[in-house]
């Protein structure tokens, strides 16, 4: 029996997606399921076997853990600050770059440079730049007769220093995504608006923003997810300190697993984080869709 063209196309499609799906299954679904299962067992590096089921004990331990509440709060503050500031700066840069005609490539290269540096290297470079005694930042401040700043050693400053470094590193990601969206916008609505005498601000609010909504949603969502997972710069620059002022949840999980040797507890923490990320993604996505 010969298949209809439509059926054949469908089969071909399935055939093409199979390798991708299989890879996804292995590298994403398997670790997630393994983590969920492990979170119900007393699975430690000293006894790495699923042989003692402990139910929700690991979750209970996580809730009772010292400083976990602070860590969640600090992570939320970090995510909010980085994503919002990156969005605003990124959008402003994208808007201005969108108008630029000459040397576009040069700007792109400059803009993309931080993004191409490995986060570990970013952390190491900034740690040296911000060194209180030997760093160039404080040296420049001294030339201007401003007192040196304790960038990473002071509880209040350290958090904003980390936020700043993250923005420096990641803002171009936001810019590039938004710029791609801007350059794909149709010209006609703008021309029509101009004819009707609309100002630039009016165009931005009434045309650009509504048209850009899907791109903005994706850009914010992606940065949100990346930001929640931030680990490298904390690991390199502050190790969660001073005190607990930069102790993000991802670093908390790492400590449970590799210092506490308790993979069960670390898995419970990871599952908690996964649920939060899923909810956030789901609601943000729904909210943005509802606006359309």
């Amino acid at each position: 029996m010969a298949l209809t063209i439509q059926k054949r196309d469908q089969l071909f499609g399935v055939f093409l997606t199979l390798p991708g799906l299989a890879t996804l299954l292995i590298i994403i679904l398997f670790p997630i399921i393994f983590t969920i299962i492990t979170s119900f067992y007393d699975y430690t590096l000293l006894n790495p076997h699923h042989d003692s089921f402990v139910g929700l004990d690991n979750y209970q331990e996580v809730i009772e853990e010292d400083y976990i509440g602070d860590s969640v709060l600090i992570t939320s503050q970090f995510v909010l600050s980085t994503v919002l500031i990156e969005f605003f700066i990124g959008f402003i840069i994208a808007l201005s770059l969108n108008k630029v005609k000459r040397f576009k490539t040069v700007y792109y290269v400059i803009l993309l440079a931080p993004l191409m540096i490995n986060p570990v290297v970013v952390g190491l470079i900034w740690r040296m730049i911000l060194h209180t005694e030997l760093g160039i930042f404080n040296y420049l401040l001294k030339l201007l007769n401003i007192n040196r700043v304790n960038w990473l050693g002071d509880n209040d400053t350290a958090f904003w220093t980390i936020v700043f470094v993250d923005i420096w590193h990641q803002v171009s990601f936001m810019t590039i995504l938004l710029l791609a969206g801007l350059s794909a916008l149709p010209r006609e609505p703008y021309e029509a608006a101009r004819m009707d005498g609309a100002s630039s601000l009016r165009c931005l609010i009434s045309i650009t923003l509504p048209l850009m909504r899907p791109v903005i949603t994706v850009a914010i969502l992606l940065r949100l997810i990346f930001s929640i997972k931030t680990f490298d710069i904390i690991y390199i620059m502050t190790k969660g300190g001073p005190g607990i002022s930069t102790d993000l949840v991802s670093y908390f999980i790492y400590r449970s697993a590799f210092f506490g040797l308790d993979i069960g507890r670390a898995s419970a923490l990871s599952v908690g984080l996964l649920i939060i990320v899923l909810f956030l993604t789901f609601f943000l996505y729904k909210y943005m869709r509802s606006l359309n």
Partner: protein
């Protein structure tokens, strides 16, 4: 065609058997002693025909790289080095191979090692799991040129009534720290520091603060095993630590680790620092230091923290016999002495007294003295977690984010909980 194929196969077969030589793989840390050992490797390869591949990585990555290898039934490392932090954990998890049979068979005298080191990274509950490789006990480095400067001596005497000399007690040391803290360019901010704190949360502060604890005559445990982190000595040690951060050490030093602290002294911006003895050679290297020849080393008043690395053969090692052969070679007197001559930190008592070594490295007897007075750090199954938890409380106390006594009480509680978890104390 067929003939050519057969001929080619035969040639290939012979070629492969000729070039085939055993290769052992070792995971090590990027420290000076690893570099010295690498320089001597050709000797071993010539002697035994065994090739050696050393993979050297930074400390912070070692534990997470080692554990998966140790967990598998056949790992990729034949031989490893183990920090004393991990000894309790690795032996409890049965990841290391007992060496008693090898030691007995080849008549290795373990008494050649400094006893404190053999206890730290050699024997666990009567079984030999490791041979001590190098020690990194902590000591005080200070500005020799300043302490010997007659003008400074006079000023110190008139200010404090004391002679300016290498300090042997904590109060004497603290007077010097205070005396040497200065605002040289008179801009209202201190620019020359009496000491440098390395207060970064976790490992850095835990190791560094320990020296302050010993300086106050404090200890981590009472004789019955109960933790003593809220004892009077511990609280006084933290008060000194806070005072240093506030007055005598660079402003950001509550977030420093040993490399930053080293740099402050190496740039000529501080009088003293308590650091690992293996860092000392770096002060005399013009590439990393602007105070070449000006730095002296002495025991920390009250004793410094003892630390060491040991060689071990993991149970997952694919070539145990070859690994042992290498360990035996590296720890032979001859090679251990050559390492010391290159600048390595010895573990065998005889090397500290060897005339040739002392001639080349005149400060080695002081290193021996430092080691003899070195104090113990808690070693048990959960040492890594202990360091994280207590290191956090110490940092909170040091930065003033938590009230001093509350932080020390919390540190004590966290320590006790881990001791109970490990079965060392009853609940």
């Amino acid at each position: 065609m067929k003939k050519i194929f057969i001929l080619f196969s035969i040639i290939l077969f012979f070629a492969s058997s000729i070039t085939y030589a055993k290769t052992i793989r070792i995971l090590m840390e990027t420290v000076p002693d690893t570099v010295y050992l690498k320089e001597l490797l050709p000797e071993f390869e010539k002697q035994t025909g065994i090739k050696v591949e050393i993979e050297a990585i930074g400390y912070s990555d070692m534990h997470s790289k080692l554990v998966p290898q140790l967990l598998s039934s056949q790992g990729s490392y034949d031989l490893i080095v183990v920090d004393f932090y991990w000894v309790g954990e690795f032996t409890k998890a049965k990841w290391l191979m007992p060496l008693d049979d090898f030691v007995k068979r080849d008549n290795i005298d373990v008494n050649r090692y400094v006893p404190a080191l053999m206890n730290l990274v050699g024997q666990v509950d009567g079984t030999i799991y490791m041979l001590p490789f190098y020690n990194y006990s902590m000591a005080m480095v200070y500005r020799k040129d300043m302490i010997n400067d007659p003008k400074e001596q006079l000023a110190f005497k008139s200010e404090t009534g004391l002679d300016l000399k290498v300090p042997t007690s904590w109060p004497e040391y603290w007077k010097q720290v205070e005396f040497f803290t200065r605002d040289n360019d008179k801009d209202g901010q201190t620019d020359f520091f009496g000491t440098v704190i390395q207060g970064q949360r976790g490992d850095c502060v835990a190791m560094h603060w320990s020296n302050f604890l010993y300086g106050q005559g404090g200890k981590y445990n009472a004789s019955n095993g109960e933790p003593l982190l809220n004892s009077a000595a511990a609280i006084s040690a933290m008060a000194y630590y806070k005072e240093a951060i506030a007055k005598y050490s660079p402003e950001g030093s509550a977030a420093y680790c040993f490399d930053e602290a080293f740099n402050i002294v190496a740039q000529g911006n501080a009088y003293s620092l308590t650091t690992f003895n293996i860092m000392y050679a770096g002060f005399d290297d013009p590439k990393s230091s602007s105070v070449v020849g000006k730095i002296g080393i002495a025991p920390n008043p009250g004793g410094g923290l003892n630390g060491a690395w040991g060689w071990a053969i993991p149970n997952s090692s694919p070539q145990k016999e070859e690994a042992w052969k290498f360990m035996k070679w590296a720890e032979s007197f001859d090679i251990a002495k050559k390492r010391a001559l290159l600048g390595g930190a010895p573990t065998q008592s005889k090397i500290f007294k060897d005339a040739e070594v002392i001639k080349k490295r005149p400060y080695y007897p002081i290193l021996g003295e430092i080691l003899a007075g070195a104090q113990e750090f808690p070693v048990f199954t959960y040492t890594t977690e202990f360091v994280e938890k207590v290191g956090l409380e110490l940092n909170l106390a040091a930065t003033g984010e938590k009230e001093l006594e509350k932080a020390m009480n919390d540190a004590n509680k966290a320590y006790r909980k881990l001791l109970v978890k490990d079965g060392k104390l009853a609940n």
